[in-house]
């Protein structure tokens, strides 16, 4: 269904820029039809499933318009801006990298096909139009893909940082009681941060009892296990008793291997039990320092 547009075709060969503006005009004119065709292809390819039909419609419209605009100006800045904008809008919707690249490639093909239909009668002209269009279209696809991956990495890193911070909170549960849940892999750097946070937390919250819950940490190496024990001892020096909960058999084994006398550590099976023990320590009195610090 090609429309015969009465473009004053100047067939002067090699006029790439002129051809490009011609095809931009073509894409603008048939915007509605081409965009719908593209959306259909996206659905057929099962891409962007995470989006509602309304979102799809809005996104494809906006992506389409920007795409044409970038084709028109051809400037790198505009292209990068477009790609970044696209990534920022699409990543929060849970879209995967291959989907984004996929829809951009689909759009490239939908548009290429419409150009094919339009110029099919003049094979020479068609070749020239495609020569002008394809490099530009591929450049857009590449830039979008790279930008999307970058943006995604940035978002993931941000989330990891947030998780990292979240996973070593010192939680003041009630007066004089702190909980330190350890989640995820403990490396020495994190263990060091954790100790500093806990010790200053004890002073800040005037804690008398600390429950360190390591249910969330499947395994630790000997260095970190050592660090854990030192943290317990240091807390005691500041006047706080430490209860350790959620000690996996594996970690318990590591502690024994490095020579820790587990009977001197106040360990309780689970967090609930640990909190009960903490209440008991707080409610009654800590008459004597339980266990002994290192001799």
């Amino acid at each position: 269904m090609s429309d015969q547009q009465q473009e004053p075709e100047r067939t002067a060969a090699g006029e790439g820029e002129h051809l490009l503006s011609q095809l931009v005009a073509h894409l603008r004119e048939h915007r509605t039809r081409l965009r719908e065709e593209w959306a259909q292809r996206i659905q057929q390819a099962h891409l962007l499933n995470a989006m509602t039909p309304q979102e799809m419609s809005a996104e494809t419209t906006s992506v389409y318009d920007n795409y044409v605009e970038v084709l028109e100006t051809g400037s790198v800045e505009a292209l990068q801006h477009y790609a970044r904008d696209l990534s920022e809008r699409i990543i929060p919707r849970g879209v995967e990298t291959h989907e984004v690249v996929g829809i951009v490639l689909l759009l490239r093909d939908v548009l290429a096909r419409s150009l094919f239909e339009k110029y099919q009668r003049d094979f020479g002209l068609l070749n020239e139009v495609l020569d002008a269009y394809e490099p530009a279209a591929n450049r857009i696809a590449n830039t979008v893909a790279v930008s999307f991956v970058d943006e995604r990495e940035r978002v993931i890193r941000q989330q990891q940082d947030a998780i990292r911070e979240l996973s070593t909170p010192v939680l003041p549960v009630r007066e004089r009681l702190l909980i330190l849940p350890i989640i995820g892999v403990l490396d020495s750097e994190r263990a060091r941060q954790l100790t500093e946070q806990l010790l200053s937390g004890i002073r800040k919250h005037r804690a008398r009892v600390v429950v360190i819950d390591i249910t969330g940490s499947p395994d630790v190496d000997q260095t970190v296990a050592n660090h854990l024990v030192q943290t317990v001892d240091a807390s005691r020096l500041m006047g706080a008793s430490v209860i350790i909960t959620g000690l996996s058999p594996k970690i318990a084994q590591t502690l024994v291997t490095i020579g820790v006398d587990l009977s001197k550590m106040n360990t309780i099976g689970d967090l609930q039990g640990g909190l009960e023990e903490a209440e008991r320590l707080l409610g009654y009195t800590v008459t004597r320092k339980e266990g002994g610090t290192s001799s």
Binding site: L199, I202, T293, S294
Partner: protein
């Protein structure tokens, strides 16, 4: 040191003695502090002793040893000693160095220390003392 600003102060409060270290002490000053404090524990027949070390930016092996010795001497004279105010960095460094306070109980600060003493030592008004 005589004549200069006091390096430590020892205050009497009821049956307790509160000793505060105001600045870094060298070894001989620590020994002098130990002697003065132990003398006063004997003199005042104190029941409880609090040593506030919040001002110490370093507690090395000698300082830790001295503090433990004070507590032991106090115990022999019938007093319980509580060590208060060990700073977070100092606490961690002591542990890394491999020194502790032994059996000497610790508390966060003076207030906590006094409370601990009140729980540990029998109240003087209540007369009978269960332990030595």
């Amino acid at each position: 040191m005589n004549g200069g600003p006091a390096l430590v102060s020892i205050m009497r409060q009821g049956s307790n003695l509160i000793a505060s270290v105001h600045t870094a002490l060298d070894d001989s000053e620590l020994v002098r502090f130990e002697r003065d404090l132990v003398d006063q524990i004997g003199e005042f027949r104190s029941r409880g002793v609090i040593i506030d070390v919040a001002a110490l930016d370093v507690i090395d092996s000698f300082a830790a040893l001295t503090l433990r010795r004070i507590a032991e001497m106090a115990r022999l004279r019938g007093a319980v000693t509580v060590l208060v105010g060990i700073q977070p960095e100092v606490a961690f460094t002591m542990v890394r160095l491999g020194i502790g306070t032994g059996d000497v109980p610790t508390a966060l600060d003076l207030e906590e220390g006094l409370e601990m003493l009140a729980r540990t030592a029998p109240h003087p008004a209540s007369g009978a003392d269960g332990r030595r």
